[in-house]
Amino acid sequence: MKRKGSNTSSSPIIEVDGLCKKFGRRQILNGIDLRVFPGDFLTIFGSNGAGKTTLLKILSTLVLPSSGTVEIGGFDIKEDSNGVRSQIGLISHNSYLYPDLTAYENLRFYGKMFAVPRLENRITELLELVELEHRKFDLVRTFSCGMQQRLSIARALLHDSPIFFLDEPYSGLDVHASEILDRVLTNLKNENHTFLLTTHDLIKGIEVCTRVAILNNGVISYEAPKGEIDPAHFPDVYKKCIEVD
């Protein structure tokens, strides 16, 4: 029997079974089954309205599923949502930062909420990583979009979670911020973290992943390991998957 909150490298760290989500009469997700193993980098592609963000919101405990089960890091999202939250970091196009607080105050607030040990050191370390230590005491309101995204990366890394959800993380990033995100992701991949990325960017999505899935009309219509994909022909495969429905 699997212990609550436990995971071995052979068992999936994310397990999704028959996941459905309805908003009113609209069926957004229609029976998603997914297994992600520790160290995996799964990229999910899909057109607008395919359900990518809804899927990530359910996995992040922000939205409740209509039916189906989801276990993350051994925690069930309905029964132990706080357990799930402590296991995940979310980087999204929304920064989740308070504009009237400084960069330091934002990280300190989230650090306290996640009960991060040695918080002061961790904040300094992360601000250096995203190259914002010189703006530590400036209000987030005064930051450019790219700088806010960089700080948002630091926010998501604060509690050193084993799993990262990336919802269109490159959208709105300038070249410098993209390079920082790439560097951070490479470091985390080397440390065997698990990733689930949703994006429209086929080239970037394939470049970083170990596995690819295509979400269309609320179901996973294609899934393959990176080794089986020919990047040159993948856009045709993607179009075919989207056009079928």
């Binding site: 922000l62 409740l64 929304n94 989740y96 607080l101 909420m113 009960a115």
Partner: protein
């Protein structure tokens, strides 16, 4: 202990934000001051002991409408800045978010009242010497607690509705009536020095019971209110 640390982290964050913007505080303070000044002009300087009922009514209507301004913003701010999801991603019981917001609202309303009550006494109470201000402070605290407890819950409910600025007062005023009546009645007793203090006890009991009921209901149901 961890729960309380997270509660106070949210309170601290809200206070720092408010100190920077002074958005809620200024609007609440100006509203109460304007109301008191306007009524002072309307009634002149001849406010007698038999007008204390009216004066305490003016005071609590001013406090209540000012509170609405603050309560309405307590979640709107989080939602508009896109931070609500950030807060929801934290591994913390939803009740901690509720308790923190109640404490924050209580602090903001109390500071406004701390400034405006002396002005109210100056304007409307002729014989302030014998008033039991300790009891008056207790009445204000219990009423504020009720206003914050109910207002925070309803603010969270109305945040996801389309007409949220309209929805909040529509939901709030009918529910707050018992608190308002108790606050007005007990204030009008306490603001006349010759009235026996025992006349306030019944109203204080109503306030305590109402506060406890709403705090408990909100504490237990807040998780379901915040979902989606």
């Amino acid at each position: 202990m961890d729960y309380l640390k997270k509660v106070f982290a949210i309170v601290e964050k809200d206070i720092i934000s408010e100190l920077r913007t002074k958005e809620l505080f200024t609007s609440m303070l100006v509203f109460v001051l304007l109301t008191l000044v306007i009524f002072n002009f309307a009634f002149g300087q001849d406010t007698q002991a038999d007008m204390v009922d009216l004066a305490s009514g003016i005071l609590w209507v001013a406090f209540l409408f000012a509170s609405i301004l603050g309560l309405n913003r307590s979640f709107v701010h989080e939602k508009d800045e896109g931070c609500m999801d950030g807060l929801m991603l934290c591994p913390v019981d939803r009740s901690a978010i509720y308790i923190a917001k109640v404490i924050g609202n209580l602090i903001f309303i109390s500071i406004v009242e701390l400034i405006t009550v002396p002005i109210f006494v100056l304007f409307f109470i002729k014989d302030a010497a014998g008033i039991n201000f300790l009891f008056f402070a207790l009445i204000i605290f219990l009423s504020n607690l009720g206003i914050s407890a109910i207002g925070t819950l309803l603010s969270a409910i109305s945040i996801n509705t389309r007409a949220r600025d309209l929805m909040m007062p529509i939901l709030f005023f009918p529910v707050i009536v018992p608190v308002l009546i108790s606050a007005v009645k007990s204030s009008s007793v306490i603001l006349v020095a010759s009235n026996p203090i025992t006349d306030v006890y019944a109203w204080l009991q109503v306030l305590v019971v109402y506060d406890m009921i709403f705090l408990l209901i909100s504490y237990l149901t807040f998780e379901y209110i915040l979902e989606e």
